[in-house]
């Protein structure tokens, strides 16, 4: 057992209102520079939809993530390789990675010629501000944007081509697009800070690394040589190439904020309060075997890697590995641990990419089709969980998204979510049969206390409960090297160019 700490994340999709505040918060801090205009380290997609970049989930096209070697040659058992660039092909394609998205698959970033609104000579027409490309500086026609298919805009093209419909039959797919049944939800995405990151594995320069103490995956801008193999290898398309600096960039989980005890900007600003952040302890010895497991075991095995931070064995082992008490303490209070491991509610996004993503999602419990009868909304189901089969987004679709196609798995999660909801309804509205709800709790293995805790942490959490940030010990290390106040008015060690300020 090799116990490591990971700052892990959980997004509760039922709560996301699709406001894009998170994306804008991130952009204002990190990607408002030239060369980064098209990057959205945090983006919010509408599902069903093709997302950003268009159809990123389709690895037949983008060749991201890992695959089992046995898919190519059956004798290679239980080993994985990168889809885009294993060693040999990585070398052969060094100067030309053939699986990169084009700028059109993201979108061509633009601004408007606002000055025309003020400077135009008087005339018969209203002046307009023409869109100007932020790449070429020329006038352009806007054809796409980072959330072009927001709220199912252009659904006949975009939503209809959602790769997650793969498991649905033609009839099921058609039924989904009936006007009365149509439904959508939001999927906010950031880098998953994976345990088995494809981006790190693919880099020919070794410019990416996973930080030892918190598992944040970073691109070293001094080492990156712009080969862009990380861009191709990340199945979530969360590494971006800066065309100005010639280097790749990605979400840094706002580590400078974390190091000063603040939640990342997208978490902090989230209007729906859907985001949770906390440390989980995991067993790094299990990474290889988990990443190369059969598809329908991936979710379970990844959960098994996460260790109980209150287990004395785990604590002892963690300390032997040099982990600070404060980190173990934070892990014990981690909301992510509770949702993912204790209650088994949160699921990884597309585990079949085999990068072991450490951002987990609680799938949305979308409204089911029902009727209004005598002033109450009924769903005509005698069976406790029968309504799930009437869910407007089929379970198969959710299974594609969160459990590598394993319907049983998502179903279990949904049953629990439903049970909690029904428990609260009986308690607060009182229009359901208590026996039915007890039956549901029993079937899902939840207790009344657990339901209450899930409800509390879902609906009424405080800031401190949502974000349990471990103290990062980097700030102490910096202070050891010098008195920060001496250097406060200066620029690092001495002056290369004296700044024009102060004394």
């Amino acid at each position: 057992m090799d116990v490591r700490a990971q700052v892990s994340m959980m997004f509760h999709l039922d709560k996301c209102i699709g406001c894009h505040t998170c994306s804008v918060a991130c952009k204002n801090i990190w990607t408002d520079r030239e060369g980064t205009e098209y990057m959205w380290w945090n983006n919010v997609e509408t599902k069903p939809g093709t997302g950003y970049p268009t159809k990123w989930e389709d690895q037949e096209k983008y060749k991201g993530g890992w695959k089992l070697k046995s898919e190519d040659s059956p004798e290679d058992k239980d080993k994985i390789k990168l889809r885009a660039s294993d060693k040999g092909r990585g070398f052969a394609n060094l100067f030309h990675q053939p699986n990169l998205p084009t700028i059109d698959d993201y979108y061509e970033p633009w601004t408007y010629k606002y000055n025309d609104l003020f400077d135009s000579p008087a005339g018969d027409d209203q002046p307009t501000a023409r869109p100007i490309s932020l790449i070429t500086g020329e006038p352009m026609d806007i054809e796409a944007g980072p959330n072009w298919d927001d709220d199912m805009g252009g659904s006949t093209v975009y939503a209809a081509n959602d790769p997650d419909f793969a498991d649905l039959t033609m009839a099921e797919k058609k039924a989904f697009f009936e006007m009365e049944r149509m439904v959508f939800f939001y999927l906010p995405r950031i880098c998953n800070h994976c345990l088995n990151p494809g981006c790190v594995a693919a880099c020919p320069s070794g410019a990416l690394h996973k930080r030892g103490e918190d598992g944040i995956v970073l691109v070293n801008q001094n080492v990156c040589r712009g080969w862009r193999h990380c861009v191709a290898a990340c199945p979530y398309k969360k590494v971006y190439y800066n065309w100005k600096s010639g280097k790749s960039e990605k979400c840094i989980l706002c580590f400078p904020r974390l190091e000063t005890g603040q939640a990342p900007a997208c978490f902090h600003s989230c209007v729906g309060r859907i985001r949770y952040l906390g440390v989980v302890l995991y067993d790094a010895d299990l990474i290889e075997s988990t990443a190369s497991a059969p598809e329908d075991e991936l979710v379970d095995l990844q959960r098994e890697m996460i260790l109980d931070p209150s287990d004395p064995d785990v604590i002892a082992q963690a300390k032997r590995g040099g982990m600070h008490d404060s980190v173990i303490d934070a892990a014990q209070k981690s909301p992510v641990y509770r949702f993912v491991k204790e209650w088994e509610l949160a699921l990884p996004l597309h585990p079949e990419f085999r990068t072991l993503p450490m951002l987990f999602y609680i799938p949305p419990l979308l409204p089911v089709l029902g009727r209004l009868e005598n002033g109450t909304y009924t769903i005509d189901e005698k069976d406790y969980f029968g309504s799930l089969d009437k869910a407007r987004v089929p379970m198969k679709y959710m299974a594609r998204l969160f459990t590598a196609g394993n319907e049983e798995h998502v179903r279990k999660t949904y049953e629990k979510l439903l049970a909690v909801r029904m428990h609260k309804r009986v308690e607060q509205v009182g229009d359901l049969n208590q026996d039915d709800v007890d039956g549901m709790l029993k079937a899902t293995g939840l207790t009344v206390e657990m339901c209450e805790e899930i409800y509390r942490l879902t609906s009424l959490p405080t800031f401190e409960e949502r974000f349990v940030i471990p103290p990062m010990h980097r700030e102490y290390a910096t202070e050891l090297m010098g008195d920060p106040y001496t250097f406060k008015a200066e620029t690092g060690v001495g002056f290369a160019n004296k700044p024009k300020r102060g004394l």
């Binding site: 268009t54 698959d105 093209v157 004394l503």
Partner: protein, 286 residues
């Protein structure tokens, strides 16, 4: 505040400055007598002549690439001669009439600037002014070896390497009758080098010393052997008969052809590369 001043305050404190000047003065006091000129040395001049001048000049054995230097010290003004030894290129550039005349007389092959210092020039003059004679090159063993033109060509193209490890001629020079790509363009075309260097004596001497600033750095430690010089000479004597080729554009055409071939090859190899996802999606719609 205090700390800050120390960190980037005045570097040249007065006291430090005084001590610095004192030490400098003392140093000069000791150094100057040592630097006054010693008497010119004939031996030093002779060594230098053999190293740097003998490739192109003899004393009393007739013209090679450059003129026979017997009596040159009496013939030319001393100051002019010192300057000429030191910076001949500059004097030609300035349009010194005597310099231009010599240049024209000797096939427009300019005397290279060999970085001779004033003291060295004085040594050389001391040597040349005596009754020194250089050995007769016609009895030079090199001229006795009869070179092999085929071997010479191979040495030129590099298919046979030079024994001491120097790079092949073709890396920098082109020559007529040497395939479509000719050779490098850093140095001049060597087709007519035999004529330009006054035949056997001059060319052999030049090959042995290679007294050209660009080549010196490369061949100083890797001189050609006598045999190699003979083979190359034989080859150059042969190419001298060929009419020099006009500027040839083969290189450009061949380059273009290879470029197009490579482009097609790349297209074939990366045929399955990702060429956009969104556009095809829309294309299917219209």
């Amino acid at each position: 505040m205090q700390q800050k001043q120390l960190r980037h305050g005045k570097v040249f404190d007065r006291k430090v400055m005084m001590i610095f000047l004192l030490v400098l003065g003392l140093g000069l006091f000791i150094m100057v007598p040592a630097m006054t000129q010693p008497a010119p040395s004939i031996e030093a001049g002779q060594t230098l002549f053999q190293q740097s001048c003998a490739a192109c000049h003899s004393i009393g054995q007739g013209d090679l690439v450059g003129p026979d230097l017997e009596g040159v010290v009496e013939k030319r003004d001393r100051d002019w001669l010192i300057r000429w030894l030191m910076v001949p290129d500059q004097m030609v550039a300035e349009g010194d009439s005597l310099a231009l005349e010599i240049l024209q007389q000797y096939n427009n092959i300019p005397m290279p600037n060999l970085g001779i210092t004033e003291a060295q020039a004085v040594d050389l003059i001391a040597y040349m002014g005596g009754d020194a004679q250089t050995p007769d090159t016609s009895t030079d063993p090199t001229t006795a070896i009869s070179g092999d033109t085929v071997l010479g060509r191979n040495l030129f193209t590099g298919s046979v390497a030079f024994q001491n490890g120097g790079p092949s001629c073709m890396a920098c020079h082109s020559i007529a009758g040497n395939g479509a790509l000719g050779g490098g363009t850093l140095g001049p075309d060597l087709t007519k080098v035999h004529t330009r260097f006054n035949g056997q004596a001059g060319l052999t001497a030049a090959l042995k010393g290679l007294p050209f600033p660009t080549m010196q750095g490369i061949f100083n430690d890797k001189p050609l052997t006598d045999n190699e010089v003979a083979h190359l000479y034989a080859y150059f004597a042969l190419t001298d008969q060929i009419a020099p080729e006009p500027v040839n554009w083969n290189f450009v055409w061949i380059g273009l052809g290879v470029f197009i071939a490579l482009t097609i090859l790349c297209h074939l190899i990366w045929n399955k590369r990702l060429a956009g996802v969104r556009k095809p999606l829309l294309g299917g719609m219209k």
